[in-house]
Amino acid sequence: MSKQLTNRIRVFRAEHRMSQDDLAQAIGVSRKTISTIEVGRFIPSTVIALKIAQHFNAPVEEIFTLTKQ
């Protein structure tokens, strides 16, 4: 997991009963992008983060959190 950023995408996906592929298609990225964001291997761009938040109809801060250093 990235030391700078944590996320709750998997939780939101489970609540919405979505697979990674469903979410990827919904926001126009590949499934690999979603899976690497979830495990923290990849820090998404602002646009992707906002698209994810918009799709789940939640504030981006609820999905992504900066870790305290």
Partner: protein, 173 residues
Amino acid sequence: MEIMKQLDNLDPAHMADKMLHRTALGVAIVSVAYFFSVAEFLASDKFTSLLSNIQLGLSILVLALILPTFITFTIMRSKHKQVCSEVEGYLSTMFKRACSTAFQWAFIFLISLELVLKKISIGLPPLFYIDLIIAFILGIFSIAFFMFTREEFEFEEDIETNSKSDTENTHRT
């Protein structure tokens, strides 16, 4: 027409990733071909034609590997411009990171080569050094790309299993 229908069913983002992956693979093969070209200068005459044939085979392999995906991707991009020009995804970011790594190592290699050639005179034609530099840079790029993306394959199956179990748990509740 049936081909166009099949293209409609393909995921454009996935095709964009596939194009990047195939490009990196093609670059790796081209790098090997250039190393064989370098070897031609050093090998004896009886091996020259063999090395040339190997290079030809590798060139055909690159075309066979990339061309179908490139054609499919180009057709899809005309329909899904926004998605296919995705510059923010994981693979495209790793691709750029690999380009940056190759660029840095290119300078290190060029400076090192210059220092060596100032001290030692090998007496080979300029084309040898050009091919060597190209082979090195392309090789570094492809190694970097596959190294940056390798852990992805370690995690992928676990993620799918966990995500499915998360969804199943949600269904049960």
